[in-house]
């Protein structure tokens, strides 16, 4: 491995391997300085750079060439240079640009969180909240689509799609039968299926996991519960198609959803097959590994209370 390079992000210095992107360097530091990412997905080759939510300011290109980069850059696709200085939340320009992106995304993405199954797991919902933008100044008619079934278990609701291309990359890279992609151009672009409106292969369910908003949803889970009322549990099984490592989402004793295990940035660790995702909905099908670790800041943790220690003055016997 060649020598490490030093990069400073929002006044915090870190040494990383050459070739690391600014976003991943920020993720190594963690905390508030990590730029948001709607289209970048570390497990998908070539993803990123499209949504422009991860724009940052490079106020010093490198130690050798300290000139600032003339424009804001997509942190998910820009690799660090030794001595680079990056501003994310410390730059008003970045915050303003990001607000603009959120407003653009909200033009054709209704914040219909009360009915959307992605509520509580939606990155745009988080962005909207973080940037104080709950709507766009756009006053014209929004484009609307009928919901369509693409395959037996997946529903596409184009109204909510922000064209991040993640599902297209997923279908392209981890399935052997890509039958959908982006059709049309400009604001008339849409995710479309080519043949029979069906995505039918063993790994097609992963397009649901990678969707950052509620455009692609699991038909076996739709409207069954709000995510923060469910209990996520890590489990595994021997599977001849995939790693078999999943998160089971319980409602009471019932498994109502199965997803890939996700990291703190909402990206699955390993993609899972449709058999594990859609067909194995009984506890007996799985070996339970334990409760899923959920950040206490996550809405998913909102309904998971630890048993509090009783104050010494309260006598347990009287309870």
């Amino acid at each position: 491995m060649s020598e490490k390079v030093k990069v400073t992000i929002d006044n915090i210095e870190i040494e990383v391997d050459p070739g690391t992107t600014i976003l991943n360097a920020a993720r190594m530091i963690g905390g508030d300085i990590v730029p948001p990412a709607m289209c970048y997905y570390s497990k998908l080759k070539g993803s990123g750079g499209k949504c422009r939510t991860c724009l940052v300011k490079v106020s010093q290109g490198s130690a050798k060439d300290p000139r600032p980069m003339p424009k804001l850059v997509a942190s998910c696709r820009t690799t660090v240079m030794d001595g680079m200085i990056v501003q994310n939340i410390t730059s008003p320009e970045v915050i303003e640009a990001r607000k603009g992106v959120v407003e653009f995304l909200l033009i054709n993405h209704p914040l219909d969180c009360p009915v959307c199954d992605q509520a509580g797991e939606c990155h745009l919902q988080d962005l909207s909240f973080e940037h104080g933008k709950d709507q766009s100044r756009y006053e014209f008619k929004r484009r609307t689509f009928e919901m369509i079934d693409i395959g037996d278990n997946i529903k596409l609701h184009m109204n909510r799609c922000i064209l991040c291309y993640r599902c297209v990359y997923t279908a392209d890279q981890i399935t052997n039968q890509r039958v959908h992609g982006v059709l049309g151009r400009g604001d008339a672009s849409e995710i479309g299926t080519y043949i029979s409106k069906a995505i039918d292969n063993d790994f097609s369910g992963n397009v649901i996991d990678v969707c950052p908003v509620g455009a692609l949803t699991d038909k076996t889970f739709r409207f069954k519960n709000r995510v923060w009322f469910t209990k996520p549990v890590d489990a595994h099984r021997d599977c001849d198609k995939c790693c078999g490592k999943v998160t089971l989402w319980y409602k009471g004793e019932d498994v109502i959803r199965v997803t890939g295990r996700k990291d703190q940035y909402g990206e699955v660790d390993e993609f899972i097959c449709n058999t594990c995702r859609f067909d194995k909905k009984k506890t007996n099908d799985w070996t339970i590994d334990g409760p899923t670790k959920v950040s206490r800041h996550s809405v998913i943790s909102a309904n998971h209370y630890e048993e509090k220690e009783l104050l010494p003055v309260i006598d347990r016997k009287i309870l």
Binding site: G48, G49, K50, C51, R52, T53, L55, K71, L72, A74, R77, E96, A97, G100, V101, E103, F104, L105, I107, N108, R137, Y138, F140, I162, L163, Y165, V182, G184, R185, G186, D187, A188, S189
Partner: protein, 453 residues
């Protein structure tokens, strides 16, 4: 009289055929380069010439060539960008139509300089006549031994192919062009890596405009120093200008860079003045993607000196009082022109042509177009004007490729210089619907420029 380089033989009958072109001294550059010069010598001459990319950005061509990576065993490509489609720009198709061998000769010499054995001319799909003309010219050159294996016995092999594009404006952006050439949807790539490192099929590639490549032959024959003597400052050589709008003589003109804008508009050699004796109101100097300038700013610099047709002079003052030479699409508007309607028209184009990959461009171009439509048709609100400025600002610089900037700049500059006209459209919707907003409607009219002749 301006020295002509690209269009010097344009009036010679049959100049579009190989035989006539050859009799006029054509293909001398190929002979000279392949027989007496090394590829590096050619690159050096182009560097000396100071030739800057004629597609719009104005990046020095020789320097761009010198960035080309040269890994062992990996092919290199030259791609000619003939996807000309910006409103107001029509110079490349003129050159390809009337003197195609100028381009083919330039392709051979440039490919030799770059070490490319396969080169492509990517032509906009709608330009079928030009595609046929180029294919015929290539066949003629090949029959004469200027293309194919062992050209002129030099040991250098080259094949040039004409590839029709998909007919999308975005395919004129160099990385989208490469995607399209590879048979994929014409979406711009995120840079870096730049095409000089990883371009067509992942190999080192140079993408040059038609006019840039066509100029290389003259530079090789006459020397880079001679070319650098033409023009002014860092704007060397000649430039094709597509002049359109309210002028007496619209057309394609070859000018020496440094020509005063006023002379270009009013002299009989070029545009011949404003049509119907009207007064000049505004000019878009470099194709629809560059900022518009009102009459007083397009003719004079802030210090009162005449503004010149050069990269530096046109951009003097930044976007506050300047614009860009761009691709040389010179659109002249007279006193009866409606700035709001023209801006809306440009905006419609960019909305339609946005590829939709990145959020600000995909959503912002449509938003601006709809607001402009509303103002133009008498339903605008005063707050719409600031909204447009704000949306343009949110797009500018935040997109994957320059199409976002191209969409934002015309809107922002039109409001910067003609805000009162936008306000008038909002305040007097019926009057705005009835007729255009001419100079007479200005509360504080812009200085009227008297004709030069």
């Amino acid at each position: 009289m301006t020295q002509k380089i690209l269009l010097k033989d344009i009036n010679v009958p049959g100049i579009n055929t190989f035989d006539v072109y050859r009799k006029q001294g054509g293909y001398a550059a190929v002979e000279k380069a392949l027989k007496t010069m090394s590829p590096d010598d050619v690159v050096e001459e182009v560097k000396k010439s100071g030739l800057r990319g004629r597609g719009g950005a104005g990046f020095p061509t020789g320097m761009k060539w010198s960035f080309l990576a040269k890994p062992e065993g990996v092919p290199r490509y030259l791609v000619c960008n003939a996807d000309e489609s910006e409103p107001g720009t029509f110079k490349d198709r003129y050159l390809m139509t009337h003197t195609p061998h100028t381009l083919i000769e330039g392709m051979i010499v440039s490919s030799y300089a770059l070490g490319a054995n396969t080169s492509y001319i990517y032509v906009r799909g709608e330009m079928m006549p030009q595609i046929r003309i180029l294919e015929k010219a290539i066949a003629e050159a090949k029959n004469a031994g200027f293309l194919g294996k062992n050209i002129l016995g030099s040991g250098y092999d080259l094949e040039v192919y004409v590839q029709p594009g998909g007919g999308a404006y975005i395919c004129g952006e160099e990385t989208a062009l490469l995607e399209s050439l590879e048979g994929k949807r014409g979406n711009p790539r995120i840079k870096p890596p730049f095409p000089a490192i990883a371009g067509l099929y992942g190999c080192p590639t140079v993408v040059n405009n038609v006019e840039s490549i066509a100029a290389v032959s003259w530079i090789v024959v006459n020397g880079g120093d001679e070319y650098a003597k033409i023009g002014i400052g860092r704007s060397t050589g000649t430039k094709l200008i597509s002049a359109s709008g309210n002028i007496n003589k619209p057309g394609v003109y070859e000018i020496e860079l440094g020509l005063p804008v006023e002379e270009f508009i009013y002299s009989d050699e070029y545009c011949g003045g404003i049509a119907n004796g009207k007064r000049l109101k505004a000019v878009v100097a470099g194709g629809s993607s560059v900022p518009i300038l009102p009459a007083n700013l397009i003719l004079k610099l802030a210090n009162g000196q005449p503004r010149l047709m050069s990269y530096e002079s046109l951009s003097e003052g930044g976007f506050a009082t300047g614009t860009m030479l761009g691709s040389g699409g010179f659109i002249v508007m007279d006193e009866d022109s409606c700035i709001v309607r023209n801006t809306w028209n440009f905006s419609r184009f960019y909305h339609h042509e946005s590829c939709g990959q990145c959020s600000p461009c995909r959503e912002g171009t449509g938003w601006m177009e709809k607001v402009l439509h509303r103002i133009e048709y008498g339903h605008g609100k005063m707050s719409d004007i600031d909204l447009l400025v704000d949306v343009a600002k949110k797009i500018e610089g935040n997109t994957i490729c320059p199409l976002g900037d191209a969409a934002a700049w015309p809107v922002a500059s039109a409001i910067r210089h003609f805000r009162d006209e936008f306000e008038w459209h909002v305040k007097e919707p019926n009057a705005a619907m009835e007729g255009n907003y001419g100079l007479a409607n200005y509360a504080d009219p812009i200085p009227v420029v008297e004709t030069a002749n």
